[in-house]
Assembly symmetry: C2
């Protein structure tokens, strides 16, 4: 255990909890959250001690027609201000996500001192690192905190990962995220990968984050396992709401963390008042057999999402189909 | 990682998978499974490579009125034979559970050579170890394989655990089980406890098992984490069916294990044909916020089970009530 940072009793003041409910959960309901929902989540997060709240994507309106999506796919400054006020006076910081190749980063971002946004999270696949770094440097000059969230890491080679970490290490990025998009990592290899990220993080003075998916019911386990070795930015969502099998549940994470700044009361109230009705309204996410299978096979969950949307339950046929397509 | 036994690619031929669906799942439906259900599960387990199938409890008919329960609370020899035939000709072994203080062990067990049962699992709390050992020695003379499943281990002291392991080490028991009855262990402390069990297991030549509960969505994670350090008897249930938040799901475990003797096809068919209809019929189990809370607080799930039975969703009140009762 000697390589772990702290133990199950210790407070790690370097930990930052980021709520990604509106952003990753938005992938389940086309970003169509009511303002009341977002405002109550904002308040619940503040009271729970959450450090960052991600409001959604700032996607290109040239690529995506705003009529086809809820507003949190675009996160207009005015829409965020309608939730947090003209100034976000809380201690909780505000994040938005910008996908490489899916945003107009040169035109759609104000300088930080004119914005309520604090952090921009740049999401990319590993071959897009140069494009991500261009965006990161630009956002840095605007004055924002930045992260780079390298997605689908379970399909990248060790060499690619090392090259990417080295390039990001030399950039202005603040946080490098390990993202288990396919929910295919086990605690043992998640920890191994995290140690590699942490090695570069130490070398270049970057914090490391972890973003989990729950395909194999391991989102929480992988989050606390990577954390135990030094990962400090931890993504979670209310009820684990997120694409496909969803993410690490905020209620699991906050109940685990020992820092008394975190507490469960407000998030529990939010779950009963807002998350349960959302589920009852027919929005679907969470662990299920079809996601387990794509996770085990280290594959994009798109086939499992289609299986879910069609309300199929023929798991065996689905599995045979996946293997035939392998 | 040097203390781990094998890695994520290796086959561990010492692994034994035990299906506890009828026994732990029986706690969710009063043991009222149809013969068809049990027979199909038996066949699916054999085809999936499962090593042991637990058919239920052999509880005292003096203590419990057979009219009040399904037959798998009692596991009469004739009822098991109705499923497996006069002789269980498969490679899969058959287990039943006997609770200390809740069975008539001197009268209700045939000698092994007159029974289709192979293994008797003796379940006890840590203060009942002497009584458990008396039963184990008796079952040993009858010719059975035996395990001792020490329940609620998260509330025992290190000293108690060491004393218990030392006593069991000197007994005839074959397997000593670490049982996370409250689903309160994290991978980090589950691994620590497992290492202690393994230390005594090595000293006394006993195999070590793990039985997980899923209160914090960690049943699978804790199972594979403890396994990685040398635990070899692994309990799982179809769809994770088991008391309260349920257990480690068989489909997660079989998909993880690298030994080609294990496969997913038959269990997937069983899930779609039998487990989904069972859930739809109104039998309730599985991870939910109320179980997370009792798990985090290291408490018996009884209050969470009552909350579930009453179909309550006022998580916050429930949590306040738990804390007031602490």
């Amino acid at each position: 255990m000697e390589m772990r940072k702290g133990n199950l009793m210790s407070v790690r003041t370097d930990i930052k909890v980021l709520d990604a409910t509106i952003r990753d959960g938005g992938l389940c309901n086309n970003f169509e959250f009511s303002d009341e929902f977002v405002k109550e989540l904002y308040k619940a997060n503040i009271k729970s001690g959450v450090d960052y709240m991600e409001f959604g994507y700032r996607a290109s309106k040239n690529l995506f027609n705003p009529d086809d999506f809820g507003k949190w796919k675009f996160c207009d400054e005015a829409d965020i201000r309608a939730i947090v006020g003209e100034e976000n006076v809380s201690d909780m910081k505000i994040a938005v996500m910008a996908d490489v190749g899916r945003c107009d980063f040169k035109t759609d971002f104000l300088p930080k001192n004119e914005s309520v946004v604090d952090m921009i999270r740049v999401a990319c696949y590993i071959h897009q690192i140069p494009a991500a770094i261009e965006m990161i440097e630009y956002f840095h000059t605007l004055g924002y905190e930045t992260t780079c969230n390298i997605m689908a890491i379970s399909q990248a080679s060790s060499e690619q990962i090392e090259d990417a970490l080295d390039m990001l290490g030399q950039s202005s990025v603040d946080v490098i995220y390990l993202v288990d998009s396919y929910g295919s990592l086990y605690p043992e290899n998640a920890a191994k990968l995290a140690k590699k990220y942490l090695e570069y993080g130490e070398k270049y003075d970057k914090a490391i984050g972890f973003h989990a998916h729950n395909n194999q019911n391991l989102a929480f386990a992988n989050t606390i396992e990577t954390m135990s070795y030094g990962v400090s930015y931890l993504d979670a969502t209310a009820s684990g709401m997120g694409r496909g099998a969803g993410n690490c549940a905020m209620e699991l994470l906050l109940g685990f963390l020992k820092n008394p700044k975190y507490n469960l009361y407000s998030i529990l109230t939010f779950l009963q008042d807002y998350m349960l009705p959302l589920k009852e309204s027919g929005v679907v996410w969470g662990y299920d057999v079809q996601y387990l299978l794509t996770g085990q096979l280290n594959r994009h969950p798109r086939e499992a999402m289609a299986f879910t949307a069609e309300k199929r339950t023929d798991y065996r046929n689905f599995y045979v189909g996946l293997l035939d397509n392998d």
